[in-house]
């Protein structure tokens, strides 16, 4: 008799993802898939994907899904959730989508306190287009459009979205996590579960930022990229809960 300790979540199809080996999207989409199974979200769930590496994940999920235009996922999700408040909307975005193109959309969805969950993958680079500088790129970090390393003179300083959004009243939960070890992955899943539970309770906007490896565009092996997150990224982007309205975590 087989007793499963771990197997591929049921909501994931047998199709292989298009992600690079070691990609953070692989880990995070898998966490989300596990939660969809555990919390029964396939029935009423809709995933709104961004334009970015992650949107190829539509091929591996057995869910109703919409790929929004670049940056517009929070706006599309607003339309969906407002006409169908009973549906469960997962908004998934990367650096370019949320922090650049979609800055207005995420800020105003937050201001309005839209009642959906946002999972934001911060890998400090633009992945899909091949490694250009992102607003989240670290100072001195190489990128194709900052070949001498990101410089504050030209491109300003990195922005922490978990902190920034935590100052907006409509955001009721904001946490930054990462996926650099089994323990970290477990904590990330706990945070995303929290964000999902808040949506099920009719509260919003809940926001989880995930520091995530991009071995390909960082020019590192996957295991090295996990180390780079722990050593370098967490200095700029500290992990932790920045807002928890229910438990009054001070901002």
């Amino acid at each position: 008799m087989k007793k499963y300790i771990y197997k591929k979540p049921e909501v994931l199809l047998d199709t292989s993802s298009g992600f690079c080996g070691g990609c953070g999207h692989g880990i995070v989409t898998k966490i989300i898939a596990e939660l969809i199974d555990e919390m029964g979200l396939q029935e009423n769930g809709i995933i709104v994907w961004p334009i970015g590496c992650s949107c190829s994940a539509h091929r591996i999920f057995r869910m109703d899904q919409m790929i929004a235009l670049h940056g517009r996922a929070p706006a599309v999700a607003t339309g969906l959730k407002r006409v169908e408040p009973g549906k469960f909307i997962i908004v998934y975005q990367g650096d370019g989508d949320l922090v650049s193109e979609g800055m207005a959309e995420i800020m105003h969805a937050s201001i309005r306190g839209e009642k959906f969950s946002v999972v934001f993958l911060n890998n400090a680079i633009y992945g899909m287009t091949g490694g250009q500088v992102a607003p989240t790129t670290l100072i001195g970090q190489y990128a194709k459009t900052a070949p001498a390393g990101r410089s504050p003179v030209n491109t300003g300083y990195p922005i922490g979205m978990a902190e920034t959004l935590s100052h907006i009243r409509g955001v009721i939960y904001s946490e930054r996590v990462t996926v650099t070890s089994p323990a970290r992955i477990a904590a990330a899943k706990k945070a995303i579960r929290k964000a999902f539970e808040l949506q099920l309770e009719g509260k919003g906007l809940s926001f989880v930022e995930v520091l995530s490896p991009c071995p390909t565009n960082w020019g590192m092996s996957p295991v090295k990229s996990l180390e780079w997150i722990e050593d370098e990224m967490t200095k700029e982007y500290p992990l932790g809960v920045f807002k928890d309205t229910e438990n009054e975590v001070p901002q």
Binding site: D64, Q65, A75, G79
Partner: protein
């Protein structure tokens, strides 16, 4: 049909949309469209039984994408804006066509380009008929000329959008938006069940095939497949949905071509011309796309006077339709106020003179 009222164009438009079951209005204030937004905002508060959601979005970029989301869930949705706002919505126009989403967009035109002015104009004709977004797509464009017709076409817009799973544009202008007219408001219409709409985002559960809205394409084969499919849809629309009205064209020597509220000025000019013995007629396209080619059948050899409030945009479509550049004249102004019938009459007289 409902009650007879004396109502402002914008408000009558909003009321007709509500009675057609529009559940989501997202927009950004911009003159001369803001009354539509305000009407929906009031309806959300004062008429909770209608179940309306009004969102004042941060920008038109966002507003248009919000209605794309609402349309994806199978609901009747709309936005209303003017030229500068419609500009910002162009990515979403391309997106909604590619994603087969039934959004309804009202463009209440005002003079441009740039920030421009606030009242009557027809300067967005190219933009609404050619599409200001990228790629090969088309949208039905409905062009009412009275508040009464605007109310009817407003309700038609939702039906057509959902019939073809394609966005529909209703072209109004600052004049029609603001004027108050006697109108018999349309009644409440039947509204299709959102969960039964094709490819609706509802949550698939374990049994239903997942629905997806995906506008990206992979490889040449998919580019061809998607575009051929869309083109065949646009052909079907072109064959079935072109609308127009002809006035005294059979025996006319000079046929005016005009649309929207401006056509009412032209009709006055036509009648005065007739009184002077000039055989004038008028074609009024009611759909700007598909352009009503049938309206021009049997009118070979006549002179056409295209009257528009722009630099001359619809005149291209007239020339293309009759395959003739030489018999087409232009009367144009750049908008804001409407010209007087006598100005157009002067133009008609000139053409009539040249025919003698």
């Amino acid at each position: 049909m409902g009650e007879k009222v004396f109502m402002q164009g914008n408000m009558a438009l909003a009321e007709s949309a509500i009675r057609a079951g529009c559940k989501l209005f997202c927009g950004y204030p911009i003159t001369p469209s803001s009354e539509v937004a305000e009407y929906f905002a009031r309806a959300m508060v004062e008429r909770p039984e209608e179940g309306i959601t009004f969102i004042q979005a941060e920008t038109e970029v966002s507003a248009f994408n919000m209605i794309a989301g609402g349309a994806a869930a199978g609901h009747r949705v709309m936005t209303a804006t003017s030229g500068p706002g419609f500009d910002l919505g162009q990515e979403a126009m391309s997106y909604m066509c590619a994603g087969e989403l039934a959004g309804v967009i009202v463009d209440i035109m005002r003079p441009g380009p740039g920030d421009g002015e606030l009242m009557a104009s027809q300067g967005d004709y190219y933009q609404v008929t050619r599409g200001g977004g990228h790629g090969d797509y088309r949208t039905i464009v409905l062009a009412p000329y009275t508040v009464q017709e605007m109310c009817e076409l407003m309700q038609e817009a939702f039906v057509l959008a959902q019939k073809y799973n394609n966005p529909v544009v209703l072209a109004s202008d600052g004049n029609l938006a603001k004027l108050m007219e006697s109108v018999e408001l349309p009644g409440y219409t039947e509204v299709p069940v959102p969960s039964e709409q094709r490819n609706a985002m509802r949550g698939c559960g374990k049994t239903r095939e997942p629905h997806k809205v995906r506008t990206g394409m992979n490889g040449e084969a998919e580019v061809n497949e998607r575009n051929l499919y869309l083109q065949s849809k646009f052909r079907r629309i072109a064959e079935n949905e072109a609308r127009f009205e002809n006035y005294m064209t059979d025996d006319a020597d000079i046929v005016m071509v005009c649309w929207g509220s401006f056509s009412r000025v032209c009709m006055e000019a036509m009648e005065r011309a007739r009184e002077e013995g000039i055989r004038a007629g008028l074609i009024r396209p009611i759909t700007l796309w598909p352009f009503p080619e049938k309206a021009f059948e049997g009118l070979d050899g006549k002179k056409f006077l295209v009257c528009e409030l722009n630099a001359g945009q619809m005149i291209d479509d007239v020339k293309l339709t009759i395959e003739n550049k030489h018999d087409v004249y232009l009367f144009n102004r750049y908008g804001s106020s409407l010209p007087r019938p006598k100005e157009i009459l002067a133009e008609i007289r000139k053409i009539a003179e040249s025919l003698r």
